[in-house]
Assembly symmetry: C2
Homo-oligomer: 93 residues x 2
Amino acid sequence: MPNFQAKVFVSLRPSVLDPAGEAAKSAATRLGLQGITSIRIGKAIELNISAPSEEEARNTVETISDRLLANPVIENWSFDLNQIDPSIPGKNL
Amino acid sequence: MPNFQAKVFVSLRPSVLDPAGEAAKSAATRLGLQGITSIRIGKAIELNISAPSEEEARNTVETISDRLLANPVIENWSFDLNQIDPSIPGKNL
């Protein structure tokens, strides 16, 4: 069974306030760092999946992102998907 | 002053256990998702910086990553840096 690696990026929607980012920004100022105009903190999730095809791996990542890793009300998500062991045919031939 | 955008990725070192990732993995199984062999949860931080040069922006990102955004004892960090408004010369000419 082919193995895939997905990187899922979850970020707050632009309209949503980011208190953690604001806190990090004021801490950076206290550290004496200049010029930082905004900080937005999100999640970067790395998934290893074995699936019969790339399409099935993609479906799994979409489902887990939408139902578990992100809160669709306040967060956006996107992902990259790569097959790890190209020797095994995972593409939809 | 030129504007730059950095994306900092913070992830747990491979040797460090990831309880949140393990919890997400068992939740995914309960959701009926098959084939997920591992989940590692990290941070993706977006920074907007205005700095006189790319080099200064790079120094700021390195300092904030090392001293604020990541815990070097258990986490690794990496980042991408791009100038947002290439019209203003920010490169070291």
